[in-house]
């Protein structure tokens, strides 16, 4: 396959940045999208040019490091798939592919396609944990959890924090990520002590980081590589309402 790539190049946070055109020839349809970029980078290095910087780590679709806007779609055209698990067979010979970084004020570009997702860490630090000393894994039957709750919590816990939800959201909102991190704990017994302070703290941290507000447009769910459902945001809303009304006297809430 021969492809034309238009890639966002930006030498540093202060640089204005621009789309630059590259030609990549002899691409195998069995390559992953990132392998295709590796091929391009090897040629750039041989030609004495600066390689394209992009984030990646496990390349197995579970670490959440990679994240590219491919032809205007977060993680590319295949649903439920991270960019590293996307294969070139999804494209046709002669295609032009636009590659851009996530665009959000809370995710400033560090270089080329690499963005700083520190804002997500701040949201986690504001309550995405349990304070109970858990020690080693306890006997699973000692604390009963309803199957439906366990399933929903697990569904949320599948979030890898890649940021595709923010990248795709027309409002630049990080609510699907925040909701996943809130509900993976609020549905389980271990998460109950901080249930209502957690939701207030994490939503506040989300807003302070400069993310937009949620309007339930549903773009986030469509691009989420882990298929976190939009109902997760409903669970967050339910907890938030309870925290601000019934639990108004909760310390820290």
């Amino acid at each position: 396959m021969n492809l034309t790539l238009r890639i966002w190049r930006q030498s540093g946070p202060q640089d204005k940045g621009r789309m630059v055109k590259y030609q990549v020839d002899d691409v195998s349809p069995d390559m992953s999208f990132l392998e295709m970029l590796d091929v391009l980078n090897e040629r750039l290095i041989l030609a004495g040019e600066e390689p394209v910087a992009f984030d990646h780590d496990c390349r197995e679709g579970i670490c959440g490091m990679c994240g590219l806007m491919i032809n205007g779609e977060a993680h590319g055209p295949q649903r439920g798939t991270t960019a590293c698990q996307l294969h070139m067979r999804q494209f046709k010979d002669g295609d032009t592919i636009d590659i851009e970084p996530w665009r959000a004020r809370a995710f400033p570009v560090i270089k080329d396609l690499v963005v700083n997702r520190n804002a997500f860490d701040k949201i986690i630090a504001a309550g995405g944990y349990v304070t109970a000393p858990t020690g080693s894994a306890p006997e699973a039957h000692s604390v009963p959890v309803a199957k439906a709750d366990a399933d929903s919590a697990f569904e949320s816990a599948a979030c890898i924090g890649c940021g595709a939800c923010v990248a795709a959201c027309p409002n630049g909102s990080g609510m699907l990520f925040t909701a996943a991190k809130v509900t993976q704990l609020s549905l389980l017994p271990q998460g109950q002590p901080e249930r209502y302070t957690r939701v207030i703290g994490m939503v506040d941290a989300h807003d302070e980081a400069g993310f937009g507000g949620c309007t339930n447009a549903g773009e986030c769910t469509a691009v989420c590589p882990k298929g976190i459902p939009l109902t997760t945001i409903g669970r967050l809303n339910r907890d938030y309402l309870a925290a601000t009304t019934r639990h108004a006297d909760t310390p820290g809430a």
Binding site: D98, A104, R105, S173, N216, G218, A222, L241
Partner: protein, 210 residues
């Protein structure tokens, strides 16, 4: 957004039911309009209920627009550098057009009040004869009025389709099965409301009501 939206939806239902009284004849329709003015008398002064309702609705509309503006400004600030290549929003057409749809509905409401409340833009414009006002408004030679009403009501339908779903989600709707149900309810509600509002101008246009 959700709370003010729900208040406005309740008004829309009552308004539609009131409109449908046009099918029970001029006397009945005019009597209903008169009854609205006298509702609550002698506890309230004449037209007191209407003024309470107007103040309530105006507050809801202002808060609704204020919340929408805050959300729109936050969205703009949250993405200072735009995408060079952006796929169309995958979500529904309704979700995509909430903001501009809202503006169309606002302009329509202003026109609608000048038309059928104050009578300024109405060919009859007699507040004591609402039936005559409505019939004159949607006469076949004033087809452009009917057209504008249709556009606005369809815009309202789209606004409600996403609005009802989104409001219930904001108020804590959280199960997958509930989401399916809410989407169906929102769609059916939007269609029923559209039909309920459009049947009046089209009945006048076709001479069913005269």
């Amino acid at each position: 957004m959700a709370v003010t939206g729900v208040l406005l939806v309740l008004f829309l239902i009552a308004h539609m039911l009131g409109n449908l009284k046009i099918f029970s004849g001029a006397t009945s329709f005019d009597h209903y309009a008169h009854w609205l003015r006298e509702l609550g008398v002698p506890l309230l002064p004449s037209a007191g209920f209407l003024w309470l309702q107007r103040v309530g609705l105006l507050t809801a509309v202002i808060l609704h627009i204020w919340a929408a503006t805050v959300l729109a400004l936050r969205a703009r600030a949250a993405r200072p550098v735009r995408y060079a290549h952006r796929k169309k929003v995958r979500g529904s057409y309704a979700a995509r057009t909430m903001r501009w749809g809202g503006v169309i509905i606002l302009l329509f409401v202003v026109y609608h009040i000048l038309d059928l409340t104050t009578g300024t833009l109405n060919p009859v414009g007699d507040p004591s004869r609402p039936f005559a006002n409505v019939v004159a408004d949607f006469a076949p030679e004033r087809w452009y009025v009917t057209l504008f009403y249709t556009v606005a009501v369809v815009a309202l339908g789209f606004h409600l389709r996403h609005g009802v779903f989104s409001a219930l989600r904001s108020l804590g709707q959280q199960t997958p099965r509930g989401e399916q149900r809410v989407r169906v309810v929102a769609l059916v509600f939007a269609v029923v409301l559209c039909a309920g509002y459009l049947v009046v101008p089209f009945a006048v246009l076709t001479g069913l009501v005269s």
